[in-house]
């Protein structure tokens, strides 16, 4: 079963395959071939998504709707998470500093750097991948199995483009804003710790979050966010668009889309960090 993709050619080949050690190789090969199949199909779908729109007015309206649902719909969750994470990061940094030689303003600095560089862009996008991703994939998946996508196609509409393009554009606009908002709230969370914990002063904290500030850090974070925003919308759209079967498969594709977009975010994050910061 595992050997599905490989044809038997000769006795040597058979011997080679029968050795237990090589089974892992074949398993890996099967997975790789599957992965290439999906990656190819994903890019073919994207090629259809970026065709010229049929009707700019309808696309525009759809994009605004998506911005509202992607952006406003996520603000509550992101606010709570950012405030608490900002507070916890600050508390932990304070607690970790026990040498009097290290000035307390480094706490503010550490909170700021971790929020701007990683927590706001990467972690918030991972959370959004869960929230927005499962949403998009089940929405498009439902449209697929209830024949709504067929109905669009019959009208001559490029369904891939009409359904997916506005989501991608909306995400490219709103998610960076959400990330900036999350950076701000994270710092507010730290400030609250300064106010109420008694472990550091607000002055130290405020000095710390402005100390040695580099604009490029924010730009770097926003560049990453743009990539993540694309991933968060396009991968779940892909899984939703190719859903087959019934309600059960909708659930499956939404799970898959969250898993694959999270993994892609982490991998791309590593690559971009290597490229941009080093």
């Amino acid at each position: 079963m595992v050997f599905h993709y490989v044809n038997i050619k000769n006795a040597d080949d058979l011997y080679f395959r029968s050795s237990v050690r090589n089974i892992y190789f074949y398993i890996l090969l099967t997975y790789m071939l599957k992965a290439f199949h999906h990656i190819g199909k994903y890019f073919l779908l994207l090629a259809r998504v970026f065709k010229k729109p049929d009707n700019y007015k309808l696309y525009g309206r759809q994009t605004i709707n998506e911005m509202v649902s992607l952006g406003l719909g996520s603000l509550g969750l992101i606010s709570i998470i950012s405030l608490f994470m900002g507070a916890v990061v600050t508390l932990q940094t304070v607690a970790a500093i026990d040498s009097p030689l290290i000035p307390l303003y480094t706490v503010g600095y550490a909170t700021r750097q971790s929020f701007i560089l990683e927590l706001a862009p990467t972690i918030m996008c991972l959370i959004l991948a869960g929230k927005i991703g499962s949403n998009i994939s089940s929405e498009i998946g439902t449209m697929r199995i209830t024949e709504q996508i067929d109905a669009l196609e019959i009208m001559g509409v490029n369904s891939a483009s009409y359904l997916i393009f506005p989501k991608i554009v909306a995400a490219l606009f709103t998610i960076p804003m959400i990330v900036v908002y999350s950076m701000f709230l994270g710092l507010v969370g730290g400030w609250v710790v300064g106010l109420y914990s008694g472990m550091l002063t607000v002055e130290d904290y405020l000095y710390g979050i402005r100390w040695d500030f580099k604009t490029f850090d924010v730009i770097y974070a926003l560049i990453k966010t743009l990539f993540f925003a694309f991933i968060i919308t396009s991968i779940p759209s892909y899984h939703g668009y190719y859903t087959r079967g019934g309600a059960l498969e909708i659930g499956k594709s939404s799970t898959k889309s969250v898993v694959y977009s999270s993994i892609s975010i982490l991998v791309i994050n590593y690559i971009l960090t290597q490229l941009l910061l080093i």
Partner: protein, 249 residues
């Protein structure tokens, strides 16, 4: 006129359609009848290109649809209206927005003209007060009617209806049948209706094809259907015991 020539269609190893050839006539209601699972929906989806056919060809008034590219197909599709078996209304839009959708996509009409046309279509399917309801708030039969209104919004040249009156009471069913008949004759459309319902077969059938296990088993009109000695067709038409006794099967 739509001409289907020798099409075959399989899903994986399972062949659904076997060498199907039919002509659908212009200005007539062309019925496709057949048992559940015989391949009626698959056949229509092959004709409109939602499923790619394995072999054969489909011609819309002499234009060979099977060999067209995406852009050429799009031009033909703008002339097609289709009512799906499961309605396929867009859940996120109200009934009014659903019917508006094809018009907004392709016409340059003003808002008022579009709205007028929407109300006209909704009135013809007897859904006057449902403009602002969402599909989830409609009954199954109302969804069917809303979907029919959407299918006829752009005055299509070719109209496909997959079981337009299933889920409707007999009276509303006849209203819908009559509507389909009227617009077909009024606008000289090529209309294809899939149905199980013998009432509507006898009411509207002008060119009837009986499909059995993916084969075209019988074609004719509604007078022929009463006289035929085709075994499978008789079993389909006279499905109840009492009718079979009546017919002497």
């Amino acid at each position: 006129m739509i001409e289907v020539k020798n099409i075959n269609k399989s899903f994986g190893k399972k062949q659904i359609l076997h060498d199907v050839s039919i002509s659908f006539l212009r200005g007539k209601i062309n019925l496709i009848i057949g048992a559940s699972g015989s391949g009626k929906s698959v056949l229509t989806k092959c004709i409109v290109g939602l499923h790619e056919i394995d072999s054969g060809s489909v011609e819309y008034d002499g234009r060979n649809f099977s060999i067209m590219n995406f852009k050429q197909r799009k031009a033909v599709r703008k002339e097609i209206g289709m009512l799906f078996q499961g309605s396929a209304l867009f859940d996120s839009l109200t009934v009014e927005e659903n019917v508006k959708f094809p018009m907004e996509m392709y016409t340059k009409q003003s808002e008022e003209e579009i709205l007028e046309r929407v109300n006209f279509c909704l009135k013809r399917v007897q859904l006057e007060n449902a403009n602002h309801l969402y599909p989830a708030e409609l009954s199954g039969g109302m969804q069917k009617r809303a979907a029919l209104a959407r299918a006829i919004a752009l005055n299509p040249k070719y109209l496909f209806c997959d079981e337009p009156n299933s889920g409707l009471d007999p009276q509303t069913g006849i209203v819908i049948d009559n509507l389909i008949q009227e617009i077909t004759h009024e606008y000289d459309m090529t209309t294809i209706v899939i149905t199980h319902d013998m009432n509507s077969v006898m009411e509207t059938g002008e060119n009837i094809s009986f499909i059995h296990q993916g084969n075209i088993w019988w074609t004719g009109n509604k007078e022929d259907i009463l006289k035929t000695d085709n075994k499978e067709l008789n079993e389909f038409v006279y499905s109840s015991k009492i009718m079979q006794k009546f017919k002497g099967l």
